[in-house]
C-alpha cells in the first residue's frame, strides 16, 4: 500500500530500524536490579507451598488439613483437588498452605494427610505397547492427499522406511511458574505473575474469584522463561489469591524446581513409522506416516507431517496416547520441532539411499513448500551452505577418515507464521519533551522493550534512550499474549501507528509557528523541520514546549491501517558435529542458520533469538528427556542434575544470518521467537547420521543410543 502514512521508512531513511542495538534492559538484568516475580517480597507476605501427589494416577479418598491448620505460623490452607477428584500426574498440587515462612509452609504441607485410591497409569509410550495402551488411545482424523499407494508402487520410485521419534520434554523455565498476589481492597486484587500474557491475566483471576476484571492488576516486568507454558493463572495462582484473601496478607506462590518440571508443562512426544518415496532424481512424490505420541491425559496437537514440503501424494495417521506424564503445554513452536524431526530425518535417509546430497535434495524440492516460498528456501539453503562450508565438510554417509572421531553435517528447514497479534500502544509526548510508549505487553527476554523503543524513536526522530517504554502491567493498554511469535509484529505495528499519530499532532502544533504546513514537516535528528529545509526547524524540546500545557497522546492499534507486517517465515539450519564412535558422545562443532522474518527492527536481538534457539535446540537434541518410571509412575529427573541442559562448553560455534533487503524488508515485521528452535533436532540427527553412517532414530542423541545404532551397522 504505497503512501500509507504509517508505512515503514524506506531503506535509505532508516536510522535505527535494522541496526544492531543492545537491549535497553540489559544493564538492569545483568546487574540484578531487574525484579522478577520471584524477587517480589511485600510487607507481611506469606509463603505458599504445595501438597504434591506422589502418584501418577489416583483418586483422592480423603484430605485432612487439620494438623496443618493448627501449626503456629500457618495462616491459610486451601484444597486444590477435592475428595473424589482424579489426579492425572505425579507431583500435581492437591492442596496448598500459606505460612509466615517458607520452612513452616513446607512443614505444614507435609502435615496434610491425603488418602489415595490407586488407579492404573501409563507413563511411557515410546514403544506403543498395545497391552499397556489399550483404552488409552484416540485417533486423529486421517489426512490423505493424492494417491500415495499408487505413487509408492511406481517402479521408478525409490522408497525408504524407518522409525523415528522425539520424547516428552519439559519447559524447565529458570524462573518457576507462579504469582505473588495481594488484595488491595475487598474486591480488588494485584498479582505479580510470571506470565506471558500480562493483559490477559486479570480476566482469568476475575472469573475464578468472581470479581470485576477491571479490579485486577497484573504486573510482570521481567520473566525468567515461559516458552509457551505461562499463559494460565493455573491452580496455584487461584490458590494464592484465595489464601491471600483468607489470611488478609499477600501470598507468594511460585513452584519448586521439582514441581516446575513435573507439573508445569510438557512438550508432547512424537514417534512415527515413516515411508517416503522419490524419483531417482530426488523429486519427492510420496509419503506415508503412522505417528503416535502423548501430551498427557488428553489429546494434544497433530504433528503437521510431512513438514514444510507438501509431497504431492501423502497420507498421515496420528494416534494420541493418553498418558500420566503431566500437562501438555505449548512449547516454543508447538508441534513443529517434532514435525521437523519426523520429516527431515527420513528425507535425509532417503537422500542417502539415492546417493544424493541432502541439501541438494531439499533445494530440488523446495517448491513443494506452500505459499510459493521455494525461492526463499533456496536462498537460505544456499546461504547456510556457505556459512557451514558445506561443500568442504559434507561427505556421503559415514566419515571415512581414520580414527574414532567422525565428523558430519546435517541440514533441515523450517517454517512458522508469526503474524503480529492484536494490541494497543499509547504514545505520550509531554511539553518537556519526554516520551513514553505504554503497552500491556511483556518482554519474554526476546527484546520487546527494545523493539518498542526503536520504533518510537525512529518515528519521532529521537535516540532510543529518549523513549521510556512502559510494559509489563495490565493497567497499560491491552496487548496480546506473547505466544506464536506474534509479539514483535504486534507491538511494532501498534507503536508505529501511535508514534506517527503523536508526531503528526506535534507537527500540527508547531506548523503555524514555523510557517510550514504540517504535512511538510519531518522529525529527524532530534529536530522538527521543514522537509529538506533545515533552516526552518525547532529542536525537539523547543517544539514540545509549543504544546503549552497540553500533552500529545496517540493511540495505535494492531491490526490497523497500512500493511506493517505479514506472516510466514522460513529458515535453513546446518549442524556440524563430531561423534566419538567409542563412547557415542556427540559434540557440536558448529550450528549455522539462515533465517528470514521480514523487516528486522533490531538486528542484535533478532540474532540473539537465533542463538538462544540453537542452544535450546542443542539441549533437546542431545540431553533433554522427561524420564518417567514405569513402576512408581514418577519423574526420575525432576532436578537440573539429571534433567540435563547444555552449558557454554557444549554449544560449539553458532552462526546466524538474517535474510534482509529486497524481497524480505517489504513484507513488514514478522515474528521470530519460535522458528529457529524448530530445525536443530533434525539437523543434529542428520549430522550424526552423516558422521557415523547410521541413523540414531530418536532424540536425545545420547551415547547409549549412538552405541546401539553403531552396533547395528555403521562404522564403529
Amino acid at each position: 500500500m504505497a503512501n500509507c502514512k504509517y508505512e515503514w521508512p524506506a531503506a535509505g531513511d532508516r536510522r535505527l530500524i535494522g541496526k544492531s542495538i543492545s537491549r535497553i534492559d540489559g544493564p538492569a538484568k545483568s546487574s540484578g536490579r531487574a525484579k522478577y516475580s520471584l524477587d517480589i517480597n511485600l510487607p507481611g507476605m506469606l509463603f505458599a507451598k504445595s501438597v504434591n501427589c506422589p502418584y501418577a494416577h489416583v483418586r483422592i479418598k480423603s484430605i485432612d488439613t487439620s494438623a496443618a491448620e493448627k501449626m503456629p505460623g500457618v495462616k491459610a490452607v486451601r484444597v486444590i483437588m477435592g475428595v473424589g477428584k482424579e489426579v492425572q500426574w505425579a507431583g500435581d498440587q492437591v492442596a496448598a498452605v500459606s505460612a509466615v515462612s517458607e520452612e513452616i509452609a513446607e512443614d505444614a504441607a507435609r502435615a496434610v494427610k491425603v488418602e489415595y485410591e490407586q488407579l492404573p497409569f501409563l507413563v511411557n509410550e515410546a514403544d506403543f505397547d498395545k497391552d499397556k495402551t489399550a483404552g488409552r488411545t484416540r485417533q486423529a482424523a486421517e489426512l490423505k492427499v493424492g494417491d500415495p499407494d499408487k505413487a509408492f508402487s511406481d517402479p521408478d520410485v525409490v522408497t525408504h522406511e524407518g522409525h523415528y521419534g522425539i520424547p516428552v520434554i519439559t519447559h524447565c523455565c529458570l524462573e518457576p511458574h507462579g504469582h505473588v498476589t495481594e488484595w488491595m481492597g475487598p474486591q480488588s486484587l494485584r498479582t505479580f505473575s510470571s506470565t506471558q500474557g500480562v493483559s490477559a491475566m486479570p480476566a482469568q483471576f476475575a472469573e475464578a474469584l468472581n470479581i470485576p476484571a477491571n479490579n485486577v492488576q497484573t504486573i510482570c516486568r521481567y520473566i525468567g522463561g515461559g516458552f509457551g507454558s505461562k499463559f494460565q493463572m493455573d491452580a496455584w495462582g487461584l490458590a494464592s489469591a484465595q489464601m491471600a484473601k483468607d489470611a488478609g496478607k499477600p501470598v507468594k506462590y511460585l513452584l519448586e524446581r521439582a514441581e516446575e518440571l513435573e507439573t508445569a508443562g510438557c512438550r508432547p512426544s512424537g514417534f512415527a513409522r515413516v515411508k517416503v518415496g522419490a524419483k531417482k532424481d530426488g523429486t519427492l512424490v510420496a509419503w506415508e506416516s503412522d505417528c503416535w505420541g502423548t501430551g498427557g491425559p488428553t489429546p494434544s496437537g497433530v504433528l503437521p507431517i510431512p513438514y514444510v514440503l507438501d509431497i504431492p501424494n501423502r497420507i498421515r495417521r496420528h494416534t494420541f496416547i493418553l498418558a500420566n506424564i503431566g500437562p501438555a503445554r505449548a512449547w516454543r513452536a508447538p508441534n513443529h520441532p517434532q514435525a521437523a524431526l519426523l520429516t527431515m530425518t527420513p528425507i535425509d535417509d532417503l537422500a542417502a539411499k539415492l546417493n544424493m546430497d541432502p541439501l541438494q535434495l531439499l533445494m530440488k524440492n523446495a517448491d513443494l513448500a506452500s505459499e510459493g516460498r521455494g525461492k526463499v528456501y533456496r536462498e537460505e539453503l544456499q546461504k547456510v551452505a556457505e556459512m557451514s562450508e558445506w561443500s568442504k565438510y559434507w561427505h556421503p554417509r559415514g566419515d571415512k577418515t581414520p580414527g574414532h572421531i567422525k565428523r558430519g553435517l546435517g541440514v533441515s528447514i523450517h517454517t512458522w507464521g508469526g503474524r503480529g497479534h492484536a494490541g494497543n500502544c499509547l504514545v505520550t509526548i509531554q511539553p518537556d519533551g519526554s516520551v513514553t510508549a505504554e503497552l500491556g505487553s511483556q518482554d519474554l527476554g526476546t527484546g520487546t522493550r527494545t523493539v518498542i523503543a526503536i520504533v518510537a524513536a525512529e518515528t519521532l526522530g529521537l535516540p532510543v534512550e529518549a523513549i521510556r517504554v512502559k510494559i509489563g502491567d495490565s493497567h497499560y493498554p491491552f496487548d496480546g499474549p506473547s505466544g506464536g511469535s506474534t509479539t514483535v509484529g504486534g507491538v511494532s505495528a501498534s507503536t508505529r501507528r501511535a508514534a506517527v499519530d503523536a508526531r503528526d499532532q506535534l507537527f500540527a502544533a508547531v506548523a503555524p509557528g514555523l510557517g510550514v504546513p504540517a504535512d511538510q514537516l519531518e522529525a529527524v535528528d532530534g529536530k522538527i523541520q521543514a522537509k529538506g529545509d533545515a533552516s526552518k526547524s525547532l529542536t525537539w524540546k523547543q517544539a514540545c514546549r509549543k504544546l503549552g500545557v497540553k500533552t500529545v497522546q496517540a493511540h495505535g492499534k494492531n491490526p490497523g491501517q497500512c500493511m506493517l507486517g505479514s506472516s510466514g517465515v522460513g529458515g535453513a539450519m546446518v549442524a556440524d558435529v563430531s561423534v566419538d564412535t567409542e563412547t557415542g558422545l556427540v559434540k557440536i562443532n558448529r550450528m549455522a542458520v539462515a533465517q528470514d522474518c521480514g523487516l528486522i527492527i533490531d538486528m542484535k536481538t533478532a540474532e540473539s533469538q537465533c542463538y538462544g534457539a540453537m542452544i535450546m535446540g542443542i539441549c533437546y537434541s542431545l540431553f533433554e528427556e522427561k524420564i518417567m518410571d514405569n513402576i512408581t509412575g514418577r519423574m526420575l529427573n525432576p532436578n537440573m542434575e539429571f534433567y540435563k541442559l547444555a552449558g557454554i562448553g557444549d554449544i560449539g560455534e553458532l552462526k546466524v544470518h538474517m535474510m534482509t533487503g529486497p524481497g524480505y524488508d517489504e513484507r513488514g515485521v514478522i515474528g521470530l521467537g519460535e522458528p529457529p528452535v524448530i530445525s536443530p533436532g533434525a539437523a543434529i540427527s542428520n549430522a550424526v547420521a552423516n558422521a557415523i553412517g547410521v541413523r540414531v532414530p530418536t532424540l536425545p542423541v545420547t551415547p547409549e543410543k549412538v552405541l546401539a545404532a553403531l552396533a547395528k551397522g555403521g562404522m564403529a
Binding site: 524420564i627 513402576i631 526420575l636 542434575e641 562448553g649 557444549d650 552405541l707
Partner: protein, 327 residues
C-alpha cells in the same frame, strides 16, 4: 527438610562428642553442597547437624618429602591451586577439574567429595539407598541407565559418586578417621563398602567418626591419569570414569593400579586390568586389552549395557594418557 539442631564446634574432640553412635541421628556438615540437598530431598533427616567449618586444623595441605597430607575441610578450589599438588600429583588436579562448577569448587571439600552420598534417583526420591518399594529394589526392573554394571548382584545397585576416590585409591592414599576411641588410618579403598541392609551406609566410617585427613604417598616415578566419559562439558556426572597409576621400569609397566568410578556401589579396583598391564610396554592394543579385562566380569542391568563399553574406553584412555606422560 526436617527441623534439626545445628552444632558449630571448634575442635575435633567437641565435634566427635556431638555425634551419635548410630546412623540417622546426626550428620557432619562440610561444604554442605551435597548434605543440604540430601536433607531437602528428605533422603537424610538428621536431628543434629555438626558443622566442621570452625575447626581450623582440618583445613590446609601439607607436603613432606614422602607424602601429601590434605585436611578434610580443604576446598576443591584450594586443592586445585596448591603448588605441591600441581607439581607432584597432577592427576588429583585432573580429577578435581572435572567438578565443573565454581560454586562447588569454592564450597565443596575433599572430605565431602569422598563421602558424598550416591546420586541414584530412587535414593534421592526417598526410596532409600537400596531403592526399596514393596519389599523389592526398584532398580532391576526400573530405569537403571546410570546404575552399576559391576558389583551389582544386589541389593545395592547405585554407583559410588566420588570422582576423587578412584585416583586416590590408585595412588595408594589413606584416610585418617577420628572417633571417640581415638584415630585410625585406613586405605581409601577400605573406606567404602557395599551395603547389604537398608540401614547400612556405603562407607565404613563410624557414625561418630570424622574424616580428618587424606594422606597421599609421594608418587615417585609414577605416571597417572584420570578419564571421565561424561555427556556434557558443563557440570555433569560422569557415565563412567577410570583412574590409572603406572609405575614404570624403562618402557615396561612394573606396577599398575586401575580403579573405575561410577560403575559399582564402591570405587572399583580392577586387578584384571592391572595384571594385563604389568610387565608390558603400553600400546594401544595393550590398553585395549586392559580395558576389556576391566569389564570382563561386568553384569549390566536392563538399560545400562552401554556403560560396559564406556568403562572399557575410559580405562583404555586413562592408560594411554598415563603412559604418554600422564596428567
Amino acid at each position: 527438610m526436617e527441623r534439626f539442631e545445628y552444632a558449630n564446634p571448634t575442635s575435633r574432640k567437641e565435634a566427635i562428642s556431638l555425634l551419635a553412635a548410630e546412623w540417622g541421628q546426626t550428620e557432619v556438615l562440610a561444604g554442605g553442597t551435597d548434605l543440604v540437598s540430601c536433607m531437602k530431598d528428605f533422603a537424610c533427616t538428621p536431628k543434629r547437624v555438626v558443622s566442621l567449618k570452625r575447626i581450623s586444623d582440618l583445613r590446609g595441605i601439607r607436603s613432606s618429602g614422602k607424602e601429601l597430607r590434605i585436611g578434610s575441610m580443604t576446598t576443591i578450589r584450594e586443592l586445585l591451586e596448591d603448588q605441591h599438588v600441581k607439581q607432584g600429583y597432577p592427576a588429583l588436579i585432573q580429577s578435581a577439574e572435572y567438578i565443573r562448577s565454581e560454586q562447588l569448587r569454592n564450597m565443596g571439600t575433599i572430605g565431602g567429595e569422598l563421602l558424598q552420598r550416591p546420586r541414584c534417583w530412587y535414593f534421592r526420591l526417598g526410596y532409600g539407598l537400596l531403592a526399596q518399594y514393596n519389599g523389592k529394589s526398584l532398580v532391576p526392573d526400573g530405569d537403571n541407565r546410570y546404575h552399576a554394571i559391576l558389583g551389582n548382584s544386589g541389593p545395592a545397585y547405585f554407583v559410588s559418586p566420588s570422582m576423587m576416590a578412584p585416583i586416590l585409591i590408585a595412588m595408594g592414599a589413606q584416610v585418617r578417621l577420628e572417633g571417640p576411641g581415638g584415630a585410625r588410618e585406613i586405605t581409601v579403598e577400605k573406606l567404602y563398602r557395599t551395603p547389604a541392609q537398608p540401614d547400612e551406609r556405603e562407607h565404613t566410617l563410624h557414625p561418630n567418626e570424622i574424616l580428618t585427613e587424606i594422606i597421599v604417598p609421594r608418587q615417585e616415578g609414577a605416571r597417572s591419569a584420570v578419564y571421565e566419559v561424561r555427556q556434557k562439558e558443563a557440570l555433569d556426572w560422569p557415565l563412567t570414569a577410570a583412574a590409572v597409576v603406572l609405575k614404570m621400569n624403562g618402557d615396561t609397566v612394573s606396577h599398575a593400579r586401575v580403579v573405575l568410578g561410577h560403575v559399582a556401589p564402591v570405587p572399583w579396583p580392577s586387578p584384571e586390568a592391572e595384571q594385563t598391564l604389568e610387565g608390558k610396554t603400553v600400546s594401544e592394543d595393550v590398553a585395549e586389552a586392559a580395558g576389556k579385562a576391566a569389564v570382563s566380569k561386568a553384569t549390566p542391568l536392563s538399560m545400562n549395557g552401554y556403560k560396559v563399553q564406556l568403562a572399557r574406553v575410559a580405562v583404555k584412555r586413562a592408560i594411554m594418557q598415563a603412559a604418554q606422560g600422564g596428567a
